[in-house]
């Protein structure tokens, strides 16, 4: 188990003049899977990026274990807090094993020498993500789903206790979305890794979240277990969408069925 406290206190974040988040408070539940949802431009990615210290809040503070993240040495923070951006960049011609090995950077010395622990961690990460067979392939040869598994492998090799992911399932077909999300459940259960991710699909979010955060216009509208949070009122308030909530027949989590102008219960 990890035992870390990642927290945002009264954070305000803006680009140029526009305020994207205002006075937002959040404590990330330790050892759980937290999913952030909300309509486009509600600030969910901004929140994740601020937690990951990619953005510096103009007001308030993001702290890890009661210490502002900006005060940590980069490499030290990276051993606790990992991040998978929405569209990570792979250098031309890089192989899977080389890419995954780069996740070891925060644990390597000044000159970046590789140790036995590095090799072991890379091997374990390839195994956990089922990418061992791909180890010598080049990234550009892989399918979208394989590629995303490789990026997750890189994050695994980092062995961070908290992993932040910005829309890890975008650009994937539904099969690979499930595959990637299942992989994150594995990680959460096996290593006790705290997971925080932004997802687009409400129903997948409700299925995979222990803790669900619904955002709208830079604020948190509701948070709690999916059962507590997913209600017709909340969906209306956040997404401006009428809906009916039923029980997901597979996972028993709440499932949002949208109502449109041409489709409504009669």
């Amino acid at each position: 188990m990890t035992n870390h406290e990642l927290r945002a206190e009264g954070i305000t974040v803006g680009y140029d003049e526009r305020e994207v988040l205002s006075m937002l408070d959040l404590t990330v539940p330790d050892g759980k899977t937290t999913v952030i949802v909300g309509p486009n431009a509600c600030g969910k990615s901004t929140l994740l990026r601020t937690l990951a210290r990619l953005l510096r809040p103009t007001g308030g503070v993001v702290s890890l274990d009661q210490r502002p993240v900006q005060q940590y040495r980069g490499k030290h923070l990276a051993t606790i807090l990992g991040l998978l951006p929405q569209q990570p960049i792979a250098p031309d011609g890089i192989t899977v094993s080389d890419l995954v090995a780069r996740g070891r950077y925060p644990r390597q010395g000044l000159l970046g020498q590789r140790t036995a622990a590095d090799s072991a961690a890379v091997a374990a990460a390839l195994l956990a993500t089922d990418t061992v067979d791909l180890a010598d392939r080049r990234i550009e040869e892989l399918s979208g789903g394989q590629r995303q598994r490789v990026w997750i492998a890189m994050a695994l090799a980092q062995q961070a206790d908290i992993l932040l992911l910005d829309e890890p399932t975008t650009f994937l077909d539904v099969t690979h979305q499930i595959e990637v999300l299942d992989l994150l459940v594995d990680l959460n259960r096996r290593e006790g890794t705290t997971i925080v991710m932004v997802l687009h699909d409400l129903n997948l979010a409700a299925r995979y979240a222990d803790h669900l955060i619904v955002m709208s216009a830079g604020r948190i509208v509701a948070q709690g277990t999916p059962r507590e949070v997913i209600t017709t009122e909340i969906v209306r308030e956040s997404f401006a969408l009428e809906s009916t909530i039923i029980e997901d027949p597979v996972s028993a989590s709440p499932m949002v069925v949208p109502i449109g102008r041409f489709h409504s219960p009669s």
């Binding site: 990951a52 031309d92 950077y105 390597q108």
Partner: protein
């Protein structure tokens, strides 16, 4: 990794062969009967050791420095066009060196310092002008090309203002040539290059990580702004010390990295291989310039431009095709 060592070894062999050729039948004086005995102090010692060896050593140094500078810039900006000789950094060094020589009457290490300052100023100007919530490599390159023209114009102005004899001495900074350097000049360049190479060692892991983009690099613990700044200063330094002694030997920095990477077949910025390729290119170009055209001796910068410009055209043509009409 194994391939990396193998390829670097092969480049080294090519470099040694070229070096031998240059010593045997390079410019100035007659071909000596025996290079090895001349090196050991035999008959043709003057031609080989006093005329050709310094030239060869400086060519190797200049090529290596330009190769590293180009690769670091290209990697930092993730763009093969972002090499110091295209974006005005080399031109900045040239103009400052020429200015120090013509206006300040300086020579030796002072010229290197001026070149470094000039190149740094250009790099800083491009950074400031292209900064908009971060660096976009596209904007950086375009602004750099614009700055290169400006600085080149300034250099031209300096040269036309100078009197003929002095301008002759400053001509090196217009085209790039190696001449017959003294050992003191070579020594200073070598020491500076050594210092820069050492300071590169702890920066290399961060350079690898920056290839993954600033977000991923930050997430993995790289202090992106600081690493970028330090790497830029070191790369500027490499370009500046080469330009200070040999002028803007164009296209060496531009081609060295891509060639090295293609041959090593690695995604990584192979700095050692790039340095070797840079050295091979400059030594070969200098040899060609001295020998290929009979008695007409051509400065090394002219030869590298003849080779490098078509590569630039090819790169642009290929890029255009793969991006459609964009």
């Amino acid at each position: 990794m194994k391939r990396y060592i193998l390829v670097s070894g092969a480049f080294l062999v090519v470099l040694l062969a070229l070096a031998f050729l240059s010593l045997a039948i390079g410019g100035f004086g007659d071909p000596p009967s025996n290079v090895l005995s001349a090196l050991a102090g035999g008959d043709d010692r003057f031609t080989v050791v006093r005329l050709r060896l310094p030239r060869l050593v400086l060519a190797v140094l200049v090529g290596a420095c330009l190769g590293i500078a180009g690769t670091v810039f290209q990697t930092l900006l993730g763009n093969p066009l972002a090499s110091p000789d295209l974006i005005g950094v080399s031109q900045g060094a040239s103009a400052a060196a020429a200015g120090a020589f013509l206006l300040g009457g300086l020579s030796g290490p002072a010229v290197s310092v001026a070149a470094f300052a000039g190149a740094l100023v250009v790099a800083a100007i491009i950074t400031v002008l292209s900064w908009r919530n971060g660096i976009s490599s596209y904007r950086f390159v375009l602004i750099g090309i614009g700055i290169a023209f400006l600085v080149q114009a300034f250099l031209g102005y300096l040269l036309t203002r100078a009197d003929l004899k002095e301008a002759q001495g400053a001509l090196v900074w217009l085209v790039g040539s190696i001449g017959t350097p003294g050992w003191d000049e070579i020594g200073i360049t070598a020491i500076l290059a050594g210092v820069l190479a050492l300071s590169m060692l702890p920066l290399r892991p961060a350079l690898r990580m920056l290839q993954l983009g600033d977000d991923t690099a930050t997430g993995l613990g790289v202090s992106v702004t600081r690493s970028r700044a330090l790497l830029t200063v070191v790369a500027v330094g490499f370009a500046a010390i080469a330009v200070a002694v040999a002028g803007p030997v164009l296209f060496v920095a531009f081609v060295a990295g891509p060639i090295a990477r293609r041959v090593v077949r690695s995604s990584e910025a192979s700095l050692v291989a790039s340095a070797l390729v840079g050295a091979v290119v400059v030594v070969a170009a200098d040899f060609l310039g001295q020998r290929a055209l009979g008695d007409a001796r051509v400065p090394v910068g002219v030869v590298t431009s003849l080779v490098g410009a078509p590569y630039l055209l090819w790169l642009l043509a290929r890029d255009n095709r793969s991006r459609g009409t964009a």
